[in-house]
């Protein structure tokens, strides 16, 4: 580290500032020139012999490093401080903001990777097609159902958190056991539960169903049954997450309030609804919002167990778009579907946060 050489106090010489600005400017020019050369190359205007776009990637990296150096040269200590946040910010811009904008440019084109004709701008056609696509809206409706199920997951998780917070022996053992599903990969769970345990002839669940008198157990042929089982698997994996958040909230609750209520003769039922539940509201809402955010990404289990079937009953938006690409190579339309979904969930989450934020714990 070159900290010792830098003047800790006092002004930075004008020369150094100018050099810093020159460095950043030079790197910017280099980066833009590389990108421009590559654009010309890929548009076949000038043949520069680039095989891929990696030179632009490296130019971006060089620009990022130069920007960091330049900051230190121009602003000294303040520049050194900026270096903490700069890598993550540049990384996020390059890996999230740029691809999203790039995705927007794909969304307004007709582009099928398997067809001979390349990318063609087609204006709002994809958007109009989206509004007429019954399968997409079906997937959207399913997402509403899946998101509503978060409340059921929350209720179960609250029950489990209360159990773990009760006076029990071997609390740590139970906590580890309850946490195990969280560690498992959804794909492995899809196989273990969705394909194997729910096998309709000899899976243990089918056997159990027959034993309690359901003659023809079918798990993935009836739309609602299929949806419920998909939700059950997703819930099984994610309930521990909600449970841990709620348990931490319960343990942070002031003991005195509870004791006072017990002395006053409140029944456990009253204690829960009048003390525990209201006090837990901020933690609860945080947990629910986080869980909804993760729920909106639901895809793995559906892709591997039902592929959206029967008749699209279990499709989530993500799994639907996944098949739009995988089976039909429809990049342009698929991206439009994804972008529209992004807009919908950003609006939804913003409204949700605005409504709930007064009651939630701080998130940033």
């Amino acid at each position: 580290m070159a900290i010792a050489e830098l003047p800790a106090y006092g002004a930075i010489s004008r020369r150094r500032k100018e050099w810093g600005r020159a460095l950043i400017a030079a790197a910017t020019v280099l980066f833009l020139a590389t990108a421009l050369a590559q654009v010309l190359n890929s548009a076949r205007i000038v043949d520069l012999g680039f095989r891929d776009w990696r030179p632009t990637l490296f130019a971006y990296l060089a620009w990022a490093v130069a920007l960091g150096f330049g900051q230190v040269m121009i602003r000294g200590q303040a520049g050194l401080r900026a270096l903490f946040i700069l890598p993550a910010a540049l990384f996020t811009v390059a890996m999230a903001i740029f691809p999203t904008l790039f995705g927007l440019s794909i969304a307004f084109t007709d582009w099928n990777l398997s067809s001979a004709t390349g990318q063609k701008f087609n204006g709002l056609d994809n958007l109009f097609q989206l509004f007429r696509d019954p399968f997409y809206w079906n997937a959207m409706r399913n997402m509403v159902i899946y998101v509503l199920f978060v409340l059921v997951e929350y209720a179960i998780a609250f029950g489990l958190a209360l159990l773990l917070n009760a006076e029990i022996r071997a609390r740590k053992f139970w906590r580890v056991v309850f946490l195990i599903p969280l560690m498992l990969s959804p794909v492995a769970v899809s196989w273990m539960v969705g394909k194997s345990m729910l096998e309709y002839r000899f899976g243990p669940v089918a056997r159990f169903a027959r034993w309690i008198g359901i003659n023809n157990p079918s798990f993935f042929t009836d739309p609602w049954a299929a949806r419920l089982w998909i939700e059950a698997m997703d819930a099984w994996v994610s309930i521990p997450f909600v449970m841990i958040l709620l348990l931490a909230g319960l343990q942070a609750m002031p003991k005195e309030v509870m004791e006072a209520a017990t002395v006053d003769g409140a029944t456990p039922w009253q204690r829960f609804w009048q003390i525990t539940f209201p006090l837990m509201l901020p933690v609860s809402l945080t947990a629910i919002v986080l869980r909804i955010i993760f729920k909106l990404k639901l895809a793995d289990i559906i892709i591997t167990v039902t592929s959206g079937g029967p008749g699209g009953a279990t499709d989530s938006v993500s799994s639907f778009i996944y098949r739009e690409y995988r089976d039909r190579s429809n990049v342009g339309y698929g991206t439009m579907l994804a972008m529209f979904y992004l807009v919908v969930i950003v609006i939804f989450i913003t409204i949700l946060l605005n409504v709930l934020s007064r009651h939630m714990r701080r998130m940033t």
């Binding site: 270096l83 996020t92 999230a96 196989w191 273990m192 955010i293």
Partner: protein
Amino acid sequence: MAAEATASSLASADSGASARRTRWLLGRIGIYAALVFWAFVSLFPVYWTITTSMKVARNVQQGALIPFVDYQPNWLGWRSLGLSTDTIGNVSTVREEFLNRFLNSVYTAFGASALAVLLGALAAYGLSRYQYKFLWMRNQDLGFFFLSQLILPPVVLALPFLVLYRELALLDSTIGLILLYTLTVLPIVIWIMKDQFDTIPVELDEAAQVDGLGPWGTFFRIILPMALPGMVAAFILSLILCWNEYFFAALLTSTNAKTLPVMVASQTGSQGINWWSMAALSTAAIAPLVIVGVLLERFIIRGLTAGSVKG
């Protein structure tokens, strides 16, 4: 008169105590019954997978449940993976494929977690200690900018990345996956690390600065060692998320960089289902994380609860 009242109140206290005792006992039984029930729900699928990996076709069709009682354990599933005791010495293409996917998963998960913890710890420290102003964005906006990436569903990035990675020759490469996974876990890492740094008193920084350490010396020599628990928590949580990720891996890898979840998912379609070998594969895929999870449960809980609950 007084004595009578005392006696009757004593008697009622006695019957009240025994009623309370019965209620207490019933409550205990209820609590432990619920605990056992949910432990069963949590563990049965794992148990089922491990036992199925040692069954043969007949046992599966009979729905055998308990090894040595319902059926005689058999190494068929593990043999088909080339991982049973009698095949471990032989050459096995399946085992080679499995080990290759396994190593891919290890590289990808560890690489992404390490990169995310590095980038995330730096950013979180900056946000925790210094005041930034970039255009209109101040610290809170910057923090929200990072956190808001959590909302971005993978499906939005998947297709642009497919096209971009094709142009960058990063398709089907571990580096490409590492970069993408880093992005997906970075918000969580920043969140956990910010929470961690906020608990370390600023006076320590000030003392270090007085002693002549610059911002980076303070960070690396004084603050970072104290933030180790948070770093471990962030790392473990990232590891779990990256190890289990399927969506991007399924879209962006084909032969070289395939990870374990993709291998598990791709087995199901071909030539019916070999229950035992699928079970063996699933067991091998989940075992590392179950072990990590049981051993480092403390850190996972710490990571999950960061920021959401203040004691």
